[in-house]
């Protein structure tokens, strides 16, 4: 039995065109990014790097500097905590506005669309606000606020408050919607107010997830506070930026070790808090 000749590989054309497209995009990309590995071996750059790396050891453990680090660490933790607290103040109300799980239209007697358009519009507006708040990275806010409020932790706290309220609000709204809706609906149907229905119907089921996410966000806030310090928003980041600018490797190493310890500490606290709920 002689089988017919098999058809050609249908994947050939798409694969070929994808490869050509990828190469066509790769070349300008390399040019735009000024891809130049030779620059890493440029004599001038190597000299600067060598000098900088030479100062890395020994790390700076002098008591004055350690005290500076301790203050900066406390400042970073405070920025993160205050920022999250403010973010919750703004995020929680927005989440309640934006979530569908407390909507009275779910239990409407009449399919009167006009009546519910107003509240629908409010919900979309809430979601829009949350999206806007999240849209700009917190470090950009930090840069702007440092210009407005001056160097220091206030810029960092506000930047966190603005962006994280958007993130917390969005995820809170989604968590509320993903919970079991029946207890809440039952309460709403028996005439309960919306906040009461939330507290008695929805919250017990989703509280664990809400706290878990909030604690995770606090961990991220600690890291973000350090980053924002680079543009002048106080804390450990500002200290590191100064040390790097002065090419003082010893100080950079100590700060980096502190940073690692702090991230581990935040990780640990987060773990414990999440276990408790």
């Amino acid at each position: 039995m002689n089988p017919r000749t098999p058809p050609r590989d249908p994947a050939l054309l798409p694969r070929l065109s994808l490869t050509v497209l990828a190469l066509a995009v790769l070349w300008p990309m390399l040019l735009l990014a000024e891809f130049n590995p030779a620059a890493l071996f440029d004599a001038k750059n190597l000299k600067v790097m060598r000098h900088f790396l030479a100062t890395f050891l020994p790390p700076d453990f002098s008591p004055d500097f350690l005290q500076l680090i301790a203050t900066a660490t406390l400042e970073t933790l405070a920025i993160a905590t205050a920022g999250i607290a403010l973010a919750m103040c703004l995020g929680v109300p927005l989440a309640l506005i934006a979530t569908r799980s407390l909507s009275l239209s779910q239990i409407a007697m009449r399919a009167d669309s006009r009546r519910w358009q107003g509240s629908d519009a409010l919900r979309w507006a809430g979601r829009g606000v949350l999206m806007l708040l999240r849209g700009i990275p917190e470090i950009v806010w930090a840069l702007l606020l440092v210009r407005a409020l001056g160097l220091g932790p206030a810029a960092g706290v506000l930047a966190l408050a603005i962006t994280y309220s958007g993130m917390l609000g969005k995820v809170y709204a989604e968590i509320l919607e993903s919970g079991d809706a029946r207890p809440t609906l039952a309460l709403l149907e028996s005439g309960s107010g919306r906040l009461a229905a939330l507290g008695y119907g929805l919250l017990p089921g989703v509280l664990r997830e809400l706290t878990s996410y909030t604690v995770y966000r606090w961990e991220c806030a600690v890291r973000a506070s350090i980053i924002m310090g680079f543009v002048g928003a106080g804390g450990l980041g500002q200290l590191m930026e100064l040390s790097m600018r002065m090419l003082n490797g010893g100080e950079v190493v100590t700060i980096f070790i502190t940073f690692l310890l702090m991230v581990m500490l935040a990780d640990g606290i987060s773990h414990v808090l999440r276990k408790m709920t």
Binding site: L30, A33, V140
Partner: protein
């Protein structure tokens, strides 16, 4: 006849203690930073803020400035894309030993390296790379590549560890070498997940790439930094709008690519 009521439930001491500790932490933070939230809302400071916000509008849409922004946006896009691409390659190479395919010592060493790469924030890498390779977008690309390699390398290693080995083992049993068994047996199973992680990281990286310019690593970030330093607010506003637009483009492309390759 009086009925015996069940005993009252025990008071959760740890819960109360934790709540107290949290409240102390929050209030303490505000006190430590000497932040008076009320001070933000006085008439004078509100006026100051309103003035500050107003100085951004109308945004500068002049031809010359828009041309520069277009260049900056393309540069930022290139930084994020190239940085992510390099990270995918390096991450994959490091993930192989990190998933235990080359022995326990190699696994520990590579895992340590990957953890180090991802612990250092992108901005710190960028400052270092500006020293090593000079100002400009190349430093930004390297910084993203280094940090993201750590992140993707760990994610890839975990995916590899969780893949069933039956397919690759069967090929090895019929005489294929380890490399070939990997490409024919393991890679087809993990490719969708790897692509999903990489595209997600690209979405994160475009936001980061925009910001690395603050320390001199090129792109829109560098433009924003200069505009703000010179107090050219309308120009800064256009840059921020461009950043938002770029993020939306990348998010959209990533979603489209994900659907295409699924």
């Amino acid at each position: 006849m009086k009925q015996n009521m069940p005993p009252r439930p025990r008071y959760c001491l740890t819960c109360a203690a934790t709540l107290c500790a949290l409240m102390v932490a929050v209030i303490g933070s505000f006190w430590y930073l000497s932040l008076e939230v009320g001070g933000l809302f006085t008439a004078a400071s509100l006026r100051h803020i309103a003035q500050f916000v107003g100085s951004f509008f109308p945004a500068d849409f002049s031809h010359a400035h828009t041309a520069k922004i277009w260049q900056g946006a393309l540069e930022t896009l290139a930084i994020s894309a190239l940085g992510t691409l390099l990270a995918v390659i390096v991450g994959m190479l490091l993930a192989l030993p990190a998933s235990g395919r080359a022995g326990r010592i190699a696994k520990s060493l590579t895992r340590f390296l990957l953890n180090f790469l991802r612990s250092v924030p992108e901005l710190v890498w960028a400052t270092l790379m500006v020293l090593a390779a000079g100002l400009g977008p190349f430093a930004g690309t390297l910084a993203l590549a280094l940090h993201t390699s750590g992140v993707l390398g760990r994610l890839f290693a975990e995916t590899l560890e969780n893949t069933p080995t039956a397919a690759a083992a069967a090929l090895a049993d019929s005489g294929a070498v380890a490399t070939t068994a990997f490409f024919y047996g393991t890679l087809p199973q993990v490719l969708p997940q790897l692509l999903a992680y990489s595209l997600y990281r690209w979405e994160m990286n475009i936001r980061m790439a925009a910001v690395l310019g603050f320390v001199g690593a090129g792109g829109l970030g560098q433009m924003l930094y200069f505009s703000l330093s010179l107090f050219q607010m309308p120009q800064a506003c256009t840059v921020i709008l461009a950043m938002l637009f770029l993020v939306a483009v990348v998010d959209g492309s990533s979603a489209w690519l994900r659907k295409l390759l699924a």
